[in-house]
Subunit: 210 residues, 2 copies
């Protein structure tokens, strides 16, 4: 693996584990056992590392947020969508833990992050509309619009919310937060599903949480 990629990987890990504000470029160089000069040869400063990590995150999020185009979306699309969204948030969780801070420092990241939020809302709405068209869900256009925004809010901030509520407990519980997050978002959708889909969802949720 190239030094540049090793730096990115180590930075991501340290940011996620300790929080981005606590990590300096010296910590990163130390972790990799390279000199600060070597690190600066690849990246001018920490913000440049963050920008690169954000690019990786954005690319993966764009893939996750692609609604199926050639066919009507179904419940499995909803699962896949949520699963990929939460997985990406989890892998780049340092961004979400200090979102205001990181976006406040960098106008470009803010614009890109805004675009990701818009995509989250739009994809959620497309999938819900697909479920409605297929007769799996019963909801008006007004209800779907409000639902799609709530899906995006809960998907975006669930880990922060749980992070504050669970502060003090062990790191282990973090991936449980992730499963709980998917469950919470699905519980937003559930009341609009018809009887059969609702029962299926309830079953899947229980398996997913256990």
């Amino acid at each position: 693996m190239k030094t540049r990629d090793r730096i990115l990987q180590a930075s991501l890990q340290l940011f996620n584990e300790c929080g981005e504000p606590r990590i300096t470029t010296n910590h990163i160089a130390d972790e990799l056992d390279i000199s600060p000069g070597n690190l600066y040869y690849h990246f001018r400063n920490k913000d440049e590392i963050i920008a690169l990590l954000f690019q990786q995150f954005e690319k993966r999020m764009e893939t996750a947020l692609q609604a199926p185009q050639r066919r009507v979306p179904n419940m499995e699309d909803m699962w896949l969508y949520l699963h990929l969204v939460f997985e990406n948030i989890w892998e780049y969780r340092f961004l979400y833990h200090d979102l205001d801070n990181i976006l406040g420092r960098n106008r470009k990241l803010r614009t890109h992050f805004r675009r990701i939020l818009e995509r989250k809302v739009a994809t959620a709405a497309t999938i819900c509309q697909g479920l409605a068209d297929a007769g799996i869900m019963t909801a008006t256009a007004e209800e779907i619009a409000a639902l799609a925004q709530n899906i995006a809010v809960v998907a975006t901030y669930w880990l922060n919310f749980q992070g504050i509520r669970a502060s003090g407990s062990t790191q282990d519980s973090d991936s449980a937060h992730l499963a709980l997050g998917v469950y919470q978002v699905l519980s937003l959708v559930a009341p609009f599903l018809n009887g059969e889909a609702q029962e299926l969802l309830r079953q899947l949720s229980r398996e997913y949480l256990s």
Copy 2:
């Protein structure tokens, strides 16, 4: 008004308008046309001002989050609860705009903020259970538990979410975000209400948003 209270009021206004990280104690002294020395006579540093503002916020939030004790909660309690919660968040919005940052710096604030989140979830659950007991709402205990958490997440992070999505547009739209926030939370509750309450809610929501 005492100097001490004037300092708190001016700080709150500046923090809300410009963001807490951008405001120094010198800015606050300037705004009040007092010397930095005079400010330091009342507060040792900015964190002490933040701690005092947080105390005010916490006291008001505790009042807002008191579920009615002597009678069964109804739809008006839900409205009142949401209205007061959003109003408080709005008045102390600087806390929410830099939540990770502010809570990361101060362990005590973190503990107190966690308690507020717990109260948000508990009060939402109590009101929903009251609506269910009164036959206004149909929901299982499992559904109410998930719903109460989603209510707390959307109520807590709605302004941040809208802040990122609307960045670039004018400040004026902020109080519209507030009304939209109440609407978004009510749309979480709506699908569980019985027909009549649902229609009433739909009407109220439209009036509230126009």
